[in-house]
């Protein structure tokens, strides 16, 4: 009977030094840093929409049919839209919803996807079969009818009052949950593939033989090593989810106008593409820039977490 010794957890100072090395690697990645600054500034600007509206005295939702399609001016920096509303303020308010939906839904999607994928990959056998066939079923479902069914769920039937069920927070959470329920499959497949590849490698088997529990192996050996493809998949899904929200709005389950989102602003602008193309360009550009920036940040995080990368070598 041999005695099993599990390695001691690293000391606090060592852990700090790992994080500072990662931070060093990240901040030397210029593209990632510029993107991070861009995302932070954009998020702050969006958060300031309320105070800006208050001080400028412009109501972002008040329509004025006599001021439609006004060009940029001192009062309306990006002009007005088809109902005479300030475009800049609506972009900032829209950003609040779009960024929040994008990030929160991606986070929930990742939790579900990683949990299913890693469990299936690590346990394997019939359990893997069961979970993956369930995943296939979700992938095989026609998206639009599923969205219609999920959107038609009456929240009052699960005990919420009419008022609560129709509150902006409930609508927001409903969208996040609907997206998370149908969009986790990509991450689950990536997580499973990575886990299957790793569970048989020598150091994982050695840890298992040494008495390490499954949870320890997953958290310490597997997850950090499959983080790269997962982070890439998550950053890509942020942009996709921002657009997904606009599809839901089109079907009538999204954020209800006049509350703007970049998605519904872009959808509405399609109709005006001949007469007012800039109304499509602004939200489109913001979605594009945000997705690109989040991707670069994700790439930077991946490089920073890569133990093989030397400090400063990952600068692009």
């Amino acid at each position: 009977m041999s005695t099993v010794t599990v390695e001691n957890p690293p000391a606090r100072s060592e852990r700090n030094s790992v994080w500072s090395k990662r931070w060093d690697r990240f901040r030397h990645n210029k593209l990632a840093m510029i993107s991070l600054v861009f995302v932070v500034i954009l998020a702050l600007a969006c958060a300031m929409a309320g105070p800006i509206e208050h001080f400028s005295g412009i109501d972002a939702n008040a329509t004025n049919l006599l001021r439609r399609f006004r060009p940029p001016s001192a009062q309306h920096w990006l002009g007005t839209d088809d109902l005479g509303r300030d475009v800049l303020l609506r972009l900032l308010y829209g950003g609040q919803v779009s960024i929040a939906v994008g990030l929160l839904a991606t986070f929930i999607t990742a939790i579900i996807g990683i949990a299913v994928g890693v469990t299936a990959g690590y346990i394997g056998g019939q359990f893997d079969n069961l979970l993956m066939r369930a995943t296939d079923c979700i992938i095989a479902l026609p998206l639009i009818p599923v969205l219609i069914v999920l959107g038609a769920v009456d929240l009052t039937k699960i005990g919420l009052s009419q008022e609560t069920a129709q509150s902006p927070l409930a609508v927001f959470l409903r969208i996040v949950i609907i997206i998370a329920l149908v969009d986790w499959t990509t991450i689950a497949r990536i997580a499973r593939a990575g886990t299957i590849g790793l569970r048989e490698v020598d150091y994982v088997r050695a840890a298992t033989v040494s008495g390490a529990k499954g949870r320890y192996n997953v958290l310490v050996h597997i997850l950090p090593n499959i983080a790269t493809p997962l982070i890439v998949a998550m950053t890509l899904s942020v942009g996709r989810i921002i657009l997904f929200e606009s599809t839901l709005s089109f079907l009538g389950f999204g954020i209800v106008p006049p509350t703007p989102t970049w998605g519904n602003m872009l959808t509405n602008a399609q109709q005006l593409i001949i007469s007012a193309p800039m109304l499509a360009v602004y939200p489109g550009l913001l979605i594009f820039s945000t997705v690109m920036a989040v991707n670069f940040v994700g790439d930077g995080v991946r490089s920073a977490f890569d133990p093989r990368a030397e400090s400063g070598s990952s600068a692009h």
Partner: protein, 563 residues
Amino acid sequence: MMSMKSSIAKFARLALAGAAIATAGASVAVAQANKSQLVIGQLQFLTNFHPLIQVNNTKRLVVNYSLRPITAFDEKIVNQCILCDKLPTIENGLAKIVDLPDGKKGMKVTIALKKDLAWGDGKPITSKDIEFTWKMARDPKVGFSNYNSWDRASELKIIDDRTVELTLPQILSSYNSWDQIIPEHLEGPVYAANPTLDTYIKQSLYNTQPTNPGLWNGSYLLSDYQIGTRIVFTPNAKWVGEKPKLQRIILSYRDNSSALLQNLLAGSVDAVPVSPGGISFSQMLDLRAQQPTKFKYYIDYGTNVERIAVNFDNPILKDKSVRQALLYAIDRQAISDELFGGLQPVANGILSDENSYYNKNMMLYKYDAEKAKDLLAKAGWKPGPGGICVNDKGERLSLELVSTAGNQTREQIAQVLQSQMKEVCIEIKNNFVPLQEFNGDMARKRKFKALMMSSIDFSPSVSPAIALSSDAVPKADNNFVGNNFSAYSNPAMDKAISELEIALDPKTAKEKWAEVQKIFAEDLPMLPLYFYPRAYVAVPDLVNFRQGTLDPLQIWSEEWERK
């Protein structure tokens, strides 16, 4: 070496010349082929092809290519015989006012079908088909839609193979307007085996075999379709009228109006209707400004009115002052001028001011925010927190407005209304629901809580009873037939409509229409917004396109030609 280079150059020149000739030849062939067909871009694929059940504006624009009504109003607002031989009138003796056994006055109307009319499978169209359609219409378990429905006749007598005599239990001014008929030889057995609406609509051949030629009797047959994608119509060899000029009419479906517009610009569709079922009116105006000569723009006066149904079960809306305040608070002229270039005229009621029966002496609701506030104050609504009115009990003046999701024009209007209502202290909560839910639960089952925006067509042959009479409230008892979604009920209105329906001479009809409009303007059972003009955009080489017809223009589609 030089000789090889020159050979390659020669070969390249020959190849290019060949390609050019082939391309030119193909283009000519395509151009020639295109002249014999018309591709029409559409939105909203039908849920079923049955011509008399669950009929809405979009369905009427499709089924009339291949199934013709007995009569229809043309662009001169003249009622025409389409399947009948001679239009029944009092003057020609084919319609008579008679005394009925119960002592009331009624009518007997004789309809004789044209000679040699046949269904697409060659079987003759006979009186039996009219009788079968009439029987089905009278069956309360089935429930036909109520556009000129056959159920207005209480008795039917077959005179001969082509002639029937219908008895109307009252005098009706629309006695000579009659809908489509359906084939007894095909639908008879299906109806016998499935006597309820739910089973019949599923088993009807219009649902299970819509390309069966025997179902259709128009100048075109529905010869092919792919759900959600396209419907193809080809000439009906058995049609006895003018032979169709176009060899194919293809309805090509797109997901949204922006895609329709881009396809029109790219040339992959030749024509598009302007709402319903096509691009929006504002898109058409934009297109016309950008491409004034590339397409022909047909715009004519229309009878389709955009209105907001007000739910009379809602205690706030029961109060007439609140309904009137709502209408005063909407700047409909600004909406029409700014969003629709002034081409969608403001609706003061259910009849347009271009209609000869329009009543000039009724109550009008010109935009007046102050008057709206006064009316609300009189009704007990005082400004409260957040600029929204409250009553003595502290209840907020908050109303939900339901509309169709994905209809950008309606979403736009809903936002303008929300903003304008807020100025007079009314909170509007927009609820955009999918079309299926809108037509089903919200409208037919009246699940909307306060306000619902939709359109309704009051063409000359349609009685205002379909939306204003107290027995047109959709409910389980009547299989949810009727368009009185507001559940408005006023004995004075019912009486005025009954008198209008029996008014045969124009002078009396005008007086009765004036009465109906006056009560409407006073009661506001719905909030009229504006009239949709009949509009279409098509390639300029399309000729004989009768756009201004008051019944669907497809009824005359055999005349369409590309030159």
